[in-house]
């Protein structure tokens, strides 16, 4: 029951292990609700791409300005770990797509399983990322403990960029590659973590039987989000690890 005596639209549950879905009061039909949410989410994804667009623009600008810095800097990254992470995310995109499909066909257990596998992918990605960051830290290319310790104008020394091995000694502004690498991958990593949180939320809802053939919208949207996180990495990996 909503206001003025209008009855709400309820999508029945396909089985006893599921719960029915009530269409929000201001929509006239389930289709209208589904399409509105989906359009809104695609627009949100567009804003995410534009947000990263600024970072990509900065990447291209400085790649053009200091090509040597980017060549030598890129060579310090471990492309094998990057490739493994790319594979991990690609596979997790597949498991996510399967999870969405299973939600659409009211297969509760399978949805849970595929979401859990996606979650494993997210965690694996972050663990590998941690070891990559640790290697940069150990070589003094990104000293995390001194990240916020500033820049000494007198000595021209940037606290977080020590370059113990001197690999960047012969290129201009050696820190620039790592500043962009850190910023892009950290913001992407934040998206991975947010995506993992959303997947856990989806799993909770699935366990309660909220998502089924009649109503699987949140699973669908989180799936789209996860694909975007994957897609951005598909661009980050070659640009940072391979192109230089």
């Amino acid at each position: 029951m909503s206001h003025d005596g209008h009855h709400s639209i309820v999508i029945p549950a396909p089985g006893p292990e599921f719960v029915p879905h009530t269409v929000a009061h201001h929509f006239d039909s389930p289709v209208q609700e589904f399409q509105s949410m989906k359009l809104g989410f695609w627009l949100f994804l567009a804003t995410e791409i534009l947000l990263f667009g600024g970072l990509f623009a900065a990447y291209f600008y400085f790649h053009e300005a200091f090509p040597e810095t980017f060549r030598v800097g890129g060579a310090q990254l471990d492309w094998r770990l990057g490739a493994v992470n790319t594979t991990v995310l690609l596979v997790s995109s597949w498991t996510m797509a399967m999870g969405v499909r299973c939600a659409q066909t009211s297969q509760k257990q399978k949805t849970l399983m595929f979401c859990a596998l996606t979650l494993v992918g997210a965690v694996a990605f972050m663990v590998i990322k941690f070891f990559e960051y640790k290697a940069k830290n150990d070589h003094g290319l990104v000293v995390f403990s001194e990240l916020f310790s500033g820049y000494n104008e007198a000595t021209g020394q940037l606290a977080w960029f020590k370059d113990y091995d001197g690999v960047m000694a012969n290129v201009p502004h050696g820190h620039m590659f790592f500043a962009i690498y850190l910023t892009m991958t950290a913001i992407h990593g934040l998206h991975v973590v947010i995506g993992a949180g959303l997947i856990i939320w989806i799993m909770k809802g699935t366990a309660k039987g909220r998502f089924h053939a009649g109503y699987y919208l949140p699973v669908d949207l989180v799936g789209l989000y996860w694909h975007l996180v994957d897609l951005i990495w598909i661009f980050l990996f070659p640009l940072l690890y391979l192109v230089p």
Binding site: D28, S36, G40
Partner: protein, 551 residues
């Protein structure tokens, strides 16, 4: 536009007033937690009005300080902070969210015949993001202020010893507030139109808000990443804007203006929408060139993405880029001129009612013509090299932002005030206030055009004595303008106490927003409306509704 909705409240005659969105529930949480677009609109209205008054006080302080060539009130550092606060509050906290947040929220779903916006929770989140952003900006004042100007140009914004991170994050939140509002309105316009309300039957306010929303969604994320990068510069010296570290401050300008020029149209397109509605209703005549008006709103939205370089004619960008940006700047004047001409043609031979919303509208038409044409002057490369960073630029964008957008906001506020609250303000005082604002505004900024053309640089705390007369005129104008605004605040607030009932259809509008009871019930329409006639068809006007007072 006629509908199957009875114009007069369908409730039978009973002693207590009918239920509407204002009296349907009570208590703090019924407002703070509301999902109703009209209540969220009212909360925005209160918020942006407070921000406008704060920004206005800062403006008056700036003008008073400049009474004397060596500055009358503050140290130079404090002066820098005050004009920065004025700019940041007015641009980010008032002008950008003002019309979409308050009147857009209030009116757009009504005009579409919808029960609410498509994503009510996101709408409330937008409002709280606005609150959070405003809070951080205010916190920045406490944390030591900021003196970068509202544009935060690198490298100064990277080096200055002030609370740039706080205001930066505040603007990030305000940006997402704006994005979510725009996203909501796009979805609402696409999916929640009443049966029969085709795209070319939509009121032009909806078209304008829709075009604005496209800009909000596609331009604002770039501002988001720009202020984040400035924050990163200050936190861990990422270096891309910092010339000491190989970065390029001009890259910041590109990033900033890639958002902030479209942002000018995020600010002005809703104002165009309000004026489009008001010229037709108060002339009781269909809008001249309706389709051209709709397309010109979209054209402005698209072209505005491609003109940002005209803010950087002195930055050393390539000659070709300068030429292209200058050409595109002239080009955007075409759809804008279409609008101005169509408004004038709409009024021509109309049955003009010179009530206060219409007076504000006429003031807009005059001021916007000046604001727009001086923009074309500044778009010319050689002239801009002379006028760049002078009071001419300041006067130009105040003719657009204050004189046009704020006046359109006032016009819309006076137009929909009886719809929102079911009460009327004092029309005589409203006309006096409008005259004060119009006179005060021009008195403030015409001297600035002259000073600017003679070389008075913007943002300086002191000036050469030759300009003293112009500064006096400008400051006196600002005081007149301020008294007009103060009078407006007075009679609008007083109307809430006096409670003189408005008419069901105060001005004789025929769009759906005027065809629901005044004030609207919680879900807007007693029965879902459908549209069977073309937009602005005044032959369908029910004159009885103009004479029926709100109960």
């Amino acid at each position: 536009m006629s509908t199957n909705v009875p114009v007069i409240d369908a409730h039978p005659t009973i002693s207590e007033p009918p239920k509407n969105y204002l009296n349907c529930s009570r208590g703090f949480m019924s407002w703070a937690g509301t999902l109703d677009h009209k209540r969220i609109g009212i909360m925005y209205l209160i918020g942006v009005s407070a921000a406008f008054l704060a920004g206005g006080v800062f403006a008056l302080l700036v003008r008073l300080h400049l009474w004397e060539p060596h500055g009358m009130l503050f140290t130079n550092e404090t002066y820098n902070q005050i004009f920065t606060l004025h700019g940041a509050f007015m641009v980010f906290i008032f002008v950008i969210p003002a019309i979409p947040g308050s009147l857009g929220n209030m009116v757009l779903p009504l005009m579409l015949g919808a029960k609410d916006v498509a994503l009510p929770r996101l709408n409330l989140l937008s409002f709280y993001l606005w609150c959070g952003g405003t809070l951080l900006a205010t916190l920045a004042i406490v944390l030591g202020g900021f003196d970068t100007g509202w544009t935060f140009y690198a490298p100064y914004s990277l080096y200055t010893d002030q609370a740039v991170v706080s205001i930066g994050l505040g603007i990030f939140l305000l940006g997402f507030s704006s994005i979510f509002t725009g996203l909501n309105f796009i979805v609402t316009t696409h999916k929640l139109r009443a049966p029969g309300l085709t795209w070319f039957r939509m009121p032009l306010f909806v078209w304008a808000i829709y075009a604005t929303a496209i800009l909000q969604v596609l331009a604002t994320p770039v501002l988001g990443i720009t202020v984040l990068l400035v924050a990163f510069e200050r936190l861990y010296n990422i270096g891309i804007f910092d010339p000491r570290l190989g970065g390029d401050p001009v890259l910041f300008e590109h990033f900033f203006w890639f958002y902030s020029h479209p942002a000018v149209y995020i600010m002005v397109l809703p104002a165009f929408g309000i004026i489009s509605e008001l010229v037709t209703v108060h002339s009781r005549k269909p809008l001249f060139g309706y389709k051209l008006m709709a397309f010109s709103a979209l054209a402005i939205a698209i072209i505005s993405f491609l003109v940002w370089g005209h803010h950087m004619f002195t930055s050393g960008q390539s000659t070709f880029a300068m030429f292209a940006f200058s050409f595109l700047t002239f080009f955007v004047a075409i759809p804008t001129a279409i609008k101005e001409f169509s408004w004038v043609a709409t009024i021509w031979k109309g049955s003009i009612a010179l009530n206060s919303p219409m007076l504000y509208t006429l003031a807009f038409l005059i001021i916007f013509a000046i604001g727009g044409l001086t923009g074309v002057i500044l778009g010319a490369l050689n002239v801009d090299l002379h006028l760049h960073d002078t009071y001419f630029v300041v006067a130009h964008f105040h003719y657009v932002m204050m004189g046009s957008i704020a006046l359109a906001f006032f016009a819309g506020l006076h137009h929909w005030w009886p719809k929102m609250f079911g009460i009327m303000y004092d029309e005589t005082l409203a006309k006096i206030a409008c005259a004060l604002i119009f006179i005060g505004f021009n008195a403030t900024f015409i001297p600035q055009f002259i000073m600017g053309s003679q070389g008075m640089p913007r943002r300086y705390a002191t000036y050469v004595p030759e300009f003293e007369g112009y500064h006096h005129a400008s400051t006196i104008g600002a005081v007149i303008l301020g008294s007009g605004v103060a009078l407006m605040v007075y009679y609008l607030l007083a109307s809430l106490l006096i409670r003189k009932p408005a008419m069901q259809n105060q001005w004789g509008g025929v769009t759906l927003d005027w065809l629901t009871p005044t004030p609207p019930p919680l879900e807007n329409f007693a029965t879902p409306p459908s549209v069977t006639t073309e937009v602005y068809d005044y032959s369908t006007l029910d004159y009885e509704s103009l004479r029926t007072p709100v109960r």
